[in-house]
Every structure is written in C-alpha cells, then in structure tokens.
Amino acid sequence: MEKPKLTFWNLVLWATLMAGFYAVLLRFTRGLGGSTNLSDEFPWGLWVGFKLFAVCLAGGGFTLAAVVEIFNIKRYRPVLRPMILTAFLGYSMFICSLILDLGRPYRVWHPMVMWNDHSVMFEIAWCVMLYTTVLLLEFSPVILERLGWKNALRRVRMVMIPLVIAGVILSTLHQSSLGSLYLIVPGKLYPLWYSPLEPVFFFISALCAGVAMTIFESWHSSKAFGKQLELPLLVGLGRVLAVLLSFYLALRAVDLAHRSVFYLLRLPRAETYLFLLEIALLVTPMLLLFRPRIHNSPTALYFCSVLTLLGFVTNRMNVAITGMQASSGVSYFPRWSEFAITLSLVASAFAIFWCAVKYLPVFPEAQPVTAKTAVPALQQMTPEFSHAD
C-alpha cells in the first residue's frame, strides 16, 4: 500500500473521531436537546436507524456460525472468525449508540432487574446482553490462541456447540424483534414499510447483509493484507446472496400486494422515491449476481455487496426516519453531531477490525492473493457454474 493513501485515510479517521468526540461532549453537557434534532414529535432519529443497521450487519456472525458449526459445511470456516468479529463490533456499535441515545445512560442496566416481558424493548435488551457475551466467547479462541493459553482454549472449545446454538437462537430473536419494535405504530409508520411481516423482513435482511458483509470484508482484507477468501468460496457466497435477495424481495412484493398498497407508488412523495431507491439498491445486485460474468469476478462481487449493504442502510433509515416523517408533522433531519457520532462509531469499528486482522489470527486459513492461485481457481470453477446457470 502506498504511503499517501494511508495518510489520507488516517486523516479521515482522526478527523471523524475528533468530531465524534466533540459531539459526545455536547451530548453529555447539553443533553439530547442540545446535541440532536430530536423532539417530542420525533423522539427516535438517526441513532435508532443506525442501531437497526449495526445489528443487521452483525447477521453474518450467526449465519456463518450455523453454517460451519451446526451444518458442518467446513469449507466456509475461513470466513467464520472475521464474521464473528464483525458481529461483535456491530453489537458494540449498537451498545455505544444506545448509551448515547438513552436519556439516562447510567440506567442502562435497569432491564436486568426491572422486568416487563410484554415489551419488545425488554426482549431486545436481554438479547443484546446475552448475544454480545456469546460473541465474545465465540471470538475468544482467537485471542487465546495468540496468548497461547491452551487450557482456557480447550474449555471454550468444549462449550462451543451449545454457545453457537444459543447464539443462533438469540440472533433470530433479536434480529426479528428489531422489526417487531415497529408493529405497535400502525398509524405512524408509512404503509410502504409498516407490515405485520416486519420481524420476518428484518430477519431475512440480516441473513442477506451477513453474506454481503462477508464478501465486502474479504475484498477489503485482500487490499489491505493480501489475504482473501478463495475465489470458489466468494463465488458460492455470491450465489447464496442472489437467492436470498430474490426471496427477500419477492416476500416484500407479496406483502405489498396483500396489503393493497401498491397504489402508493404512484404518489409523488419523498416516501415513494426513497422506497424506490431502497428497492433499486437491492434489485440491481440481485439481477447482477445471477450473471456468471459477475459472480465469478471478485471486484464485481464486491460491487454487488456494497450495493446490497447500501440497500439495507436505506431500508433501516427509511423505517426509522423516512417512514415516520409524515405522521410526525415535523420534518426531522439529523444534526451534525448525530452524524459525527454515528460516523465516528463506524470509523472506530473499521479501525478495531483493521488492528484485529493485523495482530490476531483472524484470517488464519485465508490464502494470499496471487495471480497464480486466483486464476486457476476461477477457470476450474467456471464450467461447473455456467452449467448450473
């Protein structure tokens, strides 16, 4: 990697973190009113949208843990550790933005002792606590290997299967319950997004985003460290993503049809355009991924994964912000400090991921990318795939 590029990104990182740090100071000295554009009319804003998306990204953690450890599809093992790390960082971002968003952050532990099992938020609180612990344990072998603590490593491995099962169940509950949050606002969330199937959409989109994140990270680590997944694995993930996306989109369409709200797409409103943007960002990679020329090229796969991730960012922001706008009677746009905090959380997550890959055996079995290893794999795989298509 050339030096100037590194310096530039370092500069961006530090500038973002400084702005974020200043915004956090504002948040804790001037309260939510002095640091956000939230109001009585619009009590949940950018940070909630970001939390929804952070957890969506973490979907790769439980998906791959299930694929590798439960379904025993071992060839995806090289992706497992980076995805568990991603999930852990996603949940950490969730917790950080939750602490900033709560009116009284020092009471964040209250749901542990004050129970209301009719509350979706209560379920979410418990899922976050438990699953973050599970993720830390699932990732602990990476640290224990580095430290060479054989005894502890053996103990963690003994409980790994129950941990993975607990992790998959907690994630299923948590991903879908984030969608359930919005079930109680039928009169407030715009009908293009309000659906009784919202929990199901949130769950399936977490699977999609998890797979997209795997492709995304593999490409970036190949740029930064010369480490990436073997091409056949990436190609396989691209095909899985194509099918998952088509199922997700078909379900969204069926849902719109059943609720008879397709007519809303004819209205010239901000909601219509942002809904179409969301759908376009998901339909494009889906269509592209069905083409052999696309799903056999790492760069094209990367491009598709970026589109997919942008599509789900748009979806979460649409649910949290766009869809709640009309009924609120006000027009909410996040203040700079809300953006600064969100971006600095993302920047920190990138920085921590980068450090972890550099200093810990996160990509232990990944192949160094050279023309010699990548190209034969492609040629080897192409006939079989083109036959299948």
Partner: protein, 252 residues
C-alpha cells in the same frame, strides 16, 4: 372499579381553569404565556384547544390497555386498577419507546435536561387513589370535565347524545378506540378537527407486539431442538467417516 373522565366539549366555555389546576397539581409553572400555548408539552400536561367558539381538551387518554405501559422495558409506566396510567421516574432509563408507541402522542420529554424524565398527565393518580376526583374535574365550573365510574360515565354520555342528537357527533371518543380509554370525549364537531385520529384500531395496541412476542418461547425451544439435532446428524456423519478412515481432504 375503574374511574374515568368524561369531557363534553359542548358544555366547555374555554376558561382554562383545568389547565391551571393541572399545573398546580403537578407543580408546573403556569402563567399567561403558558396559558396561550395550544399544545401539550413537558411543562403543560393538558390544554384546551380553541377554534372559534369550539373547544376540545387534550390530555393523556389513560388507555384501558396502554401501548406505553406495554412497550416500557423497565415497567416505569403502569395501568392502575383504578384507571390512571402512572409513571415511575426512578425506573425510566429514557429509551422514549413510550413516545413512539403512544397512538395519541401524549408522553413528552425533558429534552434539555441532563437527567430527563417523561412527562404526562397521570390522571391525578394520588388523588384518585384517595377517593378524590382529578384536579381538572374538581375545578371545572360547568361540569364539562366530569369524574366518575367509567361505566356510569359511558351510560351518561350515551344518554346525552340520545337526548340531544343535534348537539353531538354520534360518537363517544374513547369508548372503543384502542380498546377503550379512561378519558371519554363528546363533541359537536368531528374529533379529527382537533387532531384526534378517526382511524384508531378498536383493539388494544399491545396485542400487535404481543402476537410477535408470544412466539419467543417457541423459537427458543424448537430452535434449540432443531439446531442440536442437525448438529448431531452432521457430526455423526463426520464421526462415521472418521471411523471408516475415509475422511478426505474434500471435507476440509
């Protein structure tokens, strides 16, 4: 028995004494400037909306099965048996889900405080518990806001509409809205004119989330058995392959 308030907009003269009594009861500042505010806020729990010679009160509806209480993760908001929906500021962590969930947009927040609370009318829960009427009903000079048993007030409202059909919209707002509320409204003009939605569900809002939440034990038990079972099968295959010495490089 469950207590309720009946507000009859046709009797109201817009004197706003209920606003002043409410402010005093809840230890809030009340002056001419607050009196002129036509909206509920963290420093004004009830307000008398004025449009020409028509009036309409806004206050917490104290729903029979409140969305706010069902969504509160720490149980800070509670429906009491006597009717009021109370708020325990010592439990609240400030997630503001109650504000999002409330179909009437009642809970307000102290946005500019560092230890903010949710603020709303709690139907004078302390007074009601001691057998007294709410402050707003007690002070009302015309009886437009009346305190009593919910069932008796419903019967009375029906009687008023029956006796004087030309005077009222034929609807008791709060009788069936979101499964019923402890504040009942009568009006001579459509409630929508004062921001009361005419499209409220007639079933309690908490059912919407509870239907999803009730599947949690199913996911845990069935998911656990299914995943454990799949692991047992796939791993057994690996064991057999091991035993037969057939484990080849393709597995890895």
């Amino acid at each position: 028995m469950s207590k309720a308030l009946l507000y009859d907009a046709t009797i109201c003269i817009g004197c706003k004494q209920c606003e002043a009594a409410c402010a005093e009861q809840n230890k809030l500042l009340y002056d001419d400037s607050v009196a002129s505010e036509q909206r509920q806020s963290e420093h004004k729990f009830t307000c008398v909306l004025t449009k020409g010679d028509k009036f309409m009160r806004r206050l917490c509806m104290n729903c029979q099965d409140p969305a706010c209480a069902s969504v509160c993760p720490v149980g800070a908001l509670k429906k009491t048996a006597t009717g009021p929906v109370t708020y325990d500021a010592d439990k609240c962590m400030g997630c503001r889900y109650c504000m999002l969930a409330c179909p009437f947009n009642v809970p307000k927040y102290e946005w500019n405080k560092l230890a903010p609370k949710v603020r709303k009318c709690t139907m004078c829960a302390d007074r009601v518990a001691n057998g007294k009427p709410t402050a707003c009903a007690e002070i009302c000079p015309t009886g437009a806001t009346k305190f009593g048993e919910r069932d008796a007030l419903i019967a009375e409202a029906q009687q008023r509409i029956h006796d004087n059909p030309g005077n009222y919209v034929n609807h008791i707002y709060g009788l069936n809205e979101v499964g019923g509320t402890s504040v009942l409204l009568l009006s001579s003009v459509p409630f929508e004119q004062f921001g009361y939605s005419g499209q409220m569900l007639s079933e309690p809002m908490p059912l919407l989330t509870y239907r999803a939440l009730s599947h949690v034990p199913d996911v845990v038990s069935l998911g656990g058995v299914l995943l454990g079972g799949i692991w047992w099968i796939t791993n057994r295959r690996a064991d057999v392959a091991n035993a037969e010495g057939k484990q080849s490089s393709e597995e890895e």
